[in-house]
């Protein structure tokens, strides 16, 4: 066991993933038209956990997953129909399993009572359902006999098998369990004796039985001690295209007498598709510690800086080697960019990693609150920086809880309001330019303007002027806005909306609300794609270099005098049938006392989610990727500045925060 313990962590992670798969699939399970493939996946997940836990000696997991597996097995063999209640029981079991798993992980005491209770509950449910479902068996038997007439012939040919009387009885046990040592329980469960037939049928259904049977025969004739169970087990495996390590290893233990040739020849047989998916799965994933990746990202950041330094030097080399130097530099630049993109993509994960925990949450909450809620998830494939995945999870959790608890009304109330009884909470993610936009939409009652204002006054929060809707909605993000009176079991557990906003802002994102009374509320979160690197336009204003994030830039123009209008001494630019407020970067951020000369200056038109305006600068220097360095690490937050970066010559340039520059317009006007 000691030798194995070094793999414990791998097992824990895999088991965790299997549990999550199970949960996701169970939640998605359609009771009316069950998808067999999904059910099979759930079964496989349970089976893998069982197999793995047995090897590693986590008996608590093995026992419970075994019972669970039996239930799932019956379900996939059409012996029992999964009802909502059964799904709930299964979901609760996954919870218990998660619990046990974390107990093992933290080397905490295992609560066997819970396990036994959970086991008993599963068994009882199973007994109850299968007991009343006995009629189902006969059609199955018939079907088998009728549909696979050749089976008997085939069997009859197999002289060897008849020589081993144990084959028939043993088959169903060993089929799944020989490696796991669960004969006793299994026998009880399977006294109904459906398994072997069902399995046979299934195997045939996949068209593998014949071939494998022959192979098995070969094997049997080769070995002095035939292993008919190996045949069946392989058949099942192949049928599902599933050769997992945990799956295979216990089986190997069990059938040591089996010649290696059987395994390899059997393995070589699967359909191209299952084989392909197997090899693909092996080739596409490798576990790497996060800090190794972070180190890579940092190093690439430094590489990008060095590369732009080289570019600068490259322009100064003597004529004789300038051409060679240039082509080498261009090559280097391309390689650097590709390395950078590749490294960044290593850190990217689909946002479904976060989203997948919410169906369960919504299901549980809606049951608890006696609401009917349908959670719709869109854009789960949108990729997002791993660091963001971890940090966005809590704010989203809170917002969804909020939508379910406060947003969606009770069914009766919804009917009154002429809405469908079932409320919809939609969670969507999409990439827009360099940003990820996540929205949480509910079709509930909407925010109550009067109540928010009243609450704000009561809490002594100063009201914004003018009191526009969006300004009122922002009030709920004020610290101390949520009150003890609001605390329910579901939301308001001391994590206020202010924490949500703070978390999102600390990620360089922002959150906006729009809400219509009676129609619902939409929370929109904008997040940067990555926290480390930014595509920017380098510009110069009052002898200083600034970076404007490319995402914000609409276009750059050199305005003519007629386009500049003045209102109360402030400049506006008339372009594209619109008046754009102008901000003089040299004056507001460059510390220059003089206004930029508009005759030579350039206006960069930028937009944020809230506003469009123009930035007056002296000249455009170029476009480049910059590594974002935190200004707050050694200094403090500066209005209008998102961070700093190191230029090719080693000097520091400030990155503009276009969003927060908007407030200069307000204070200016």
């Amino acid at each position: 066991m000691d030798n194995l313990s070094q793999y414990n962590e791998v097992f824990f992670e895999e088991a965790q993933e299997h549990l999550e798969t199970m949960e996701t699939l169970l939640l998605a399970y359609n009771i009316d038209s069950p998808d067999m493939e999904e059910l099979n996946s759930v079964f496989r997940a349970a089976h893998s956990i069982k197999g793995g836990s047995d090897i590693f000696g986590f008996k608590a997991l093995t026992g419970l997953t075994h019972v669970m597996e039996n239930m799932l097995d019956s379900a996939r063999n059409n012996e029992l129909t999964l009802t909502t209640d059964l799904i709930t029981v299964l979901l609760e079991t996954t919870d218990v399993l998660k619990n046990i798993l974390s107990c093992y992980r933290e080397e905490a005491e295992i609560d066997w009572d819970i396990i036994e209770a959970s086991k008993a509950r599963l068994s009882a449910t199973l007994q109850e359902v299968t007991g009343s479902n006995n009629q189902v068996h006969s059609p199955l038997d018939e079907e088998e006999d009728l549909g696979y007439g050749f089976f008997d012939d085939d069997d009859a040919d197999t002289e060897e098998e008849q020589g081993f009387g144990f084959f028939e009885e043993d088959e169903n046990d060993s089929e799944k369990d020989q490696g796991f040592g669960f004969f006793d329980e299994d026998d009880k469960e399977q006294e109904q004796d459906q398994d072997s037939k069902a399995i046979d049928e299934e195997s045939l259904g996949y068209g593998f039985f014949e071939e494998n049977n022959e192979m098995a025969k070969e094997a049997e004739s080769l070995t002095t001690e035939p292993q008919p169970d190996a045949n069946t087990e392989h058949t099942e495996n192949i049928g599902y295209g599933f050769f997992n390590e945990e799956f295979n290893s216990p089986q190997k233990d069990a059938v040591t007498a089996q010649p290696a040739g059987l395994t390899s020849s059997t393995v070589a047989k699967p359909t191209p598709s299952s084989k392909a998916s197997e090899t693909k799965a092996e080739a596409t994933s490798i576990r790497v510690e996060t800090n190794k990746i972070d180190k890579l990202v940092n190093l690439v950041g430094e590489l990008v800086i060095t590369q732009s330094m080289l570019n600068l030097i490259g322009s100064e080399v003597p004529e004789s080697i300038a051409d060679k130097m240039q082509s080498a530099l261009i090559e280097l630049e391309r390689n650097t960019r590709e390395i950078q993109e590749a490294v960044m993509s290593v850190r990217m994960l689909p946002i479904s990693f976060v989203f997948n925990r919410f169906p369960r949450l919504v299901r549980d909450l809606s049951t608890k609150l006696e609401k009917k809620i349908n959670l719709v998830i869109e854009g789960g494939n949108t990729e997002i920086d791993k660091n963001l995945v971890e940090k966005i999870s809590d704010p989203l959790l809170h917002l969804i809880r909020n939508s379910v608890d406060h947003g969606i009304e009770l069914p009766a109330k919804r009917l009154e309001a002429n809405k469908s009884e079932t409320g919809i909470v939609m969670l969507s993610a999409a990439q827009k330019g360099g940003e990820i936009v996540i929205t949480i939409t509910d079709d509930g009652a909407g925010l109550n303007r009067e109540r928010i204002i009243a609450k704000a006054v009561e809490k002594g929060i100063s009201l914004p002027e003018p009191l526009s809707d969006s300004a009122v909605w922002q009030l709920i993000f004020e610290a101390g806005f949520s009150t003890a009176a609001e605390v329910t079991d579901v939301s308001g557990r001391g994590v206020g909306m202010d924490v949500v906003r703070r978390n999102i802002e600390s990620l360089g994102g922002r959150i906006d609300i729009s809400s219509t009374a009676g129609m619902g509320t939409v929370f929109t979160i904008n997040l940067p794609l990555t926290l480390a690197i930014l595509d920017g336009m380098t510009v110069e204003a009052s002898d200083q270099v600034f970076i404007i994030p490319l995402v914000n830039i609409v276009e750059s123009i050199q305005p003519v005098a007629e386009q500049i209008k003045h209102i109360k001494g402030k400049k506006l630019l008339w372009v594209r049938d619109e008046y754009w407020p102008l901000i003089d970067i040299g004056k507001t951020l460059g510390g220059s006392p003089n206004e930029t000369n508009m005759e030579t200056g350039i206006v960069v038109l930028v937009e944020t989610s809230k506003q469009r305006f123009g930035l007056i600068i002296d000249s455009l220097l170029g476009q480049q990727q910059v590594v974002i360095k935190n200004l707050e690490r050694h200094y403090r937050r500066v209005e209008g500045i998102a961070g700093a970066t190191i230029m090719g010559d080693g000097s520091v340039a400030l990155i503009l925060d276009v969003d927060s520059i908007t407030q200069f317009i307000k204070s200016d006007l």
Partner: protein, 160 residues
């Protein structure tokens, strides 16, 4: 930048101080806060920062603010030439550079060598001073640099 090791290191409770010059006055700070000493280089200005914050520089990948104490405390003249020195300080896990006219020495001081500072006559508020010490014939003002740099008065750190 000749830094001379002075005194014997065997005297137990003595602390080492780096002396530096602002205008005509000699100051000293706890040498344990010093990260490195380097020549002055132009810094990138920061929007709406007070005049004594010269801006930020790149210290091997870190963006570090530079404070000119001469401007802040109105001592001497804030000129920048090849002898202008920046002392990089490690204060409360952050790095801040201070511009001085020169560094002169490292001195060992025992607790009893430091005399309380008068309430007046010194550019710094007495809150930021450990006291005064005599070095040969000269008076050295011992600055509590950690207190000073992290104070709201300098405003380099976000006020909590």
């Amino acid at each position: 930048m000749a830094i001379l090791q002075q005194g014997n290191t065997s005297s137990m409770p003595a602390k080492e101080f780096l002396t530096f010059v602002l205008g005509d006055e000699a100051y000293a700070l706890d040498i344990m806060t010093v990260k490195e000493i380097r020549g002055y280089e132009p810094a990138t200005k920061i929007a709406n920062a007070p005049s004594y914050i010269k801006g930020v520089i790149n210290l091997r990948g870190d963006i570090v603010p530079i404070v000119d104490l001469r401007i802040k405390f109105n001592i001497g003249e804030a000129t920048y030439n090849e002898w202008t020195i920046v002392i990089m300080l490690n204060v409360r896990d952050r790095v801040v550079g201070i511009v001085v006219d020169g560094v002169s020495d490292v001195m060992n001081l025992e607790a009893e060598d430091i005399k309380p500072a008068p309430e007046f006559g010194v550019a710094f508020d007495s809150r930021y001073l450990h006291g005064l010490a005599a070095l040969e014939d000269q008076m050295v003002i011992i600055v509590d640099i950690e207190e000073l740099i992290s104070s709201d008065e300098i405003g380099v750190f976000e006020s909590v």
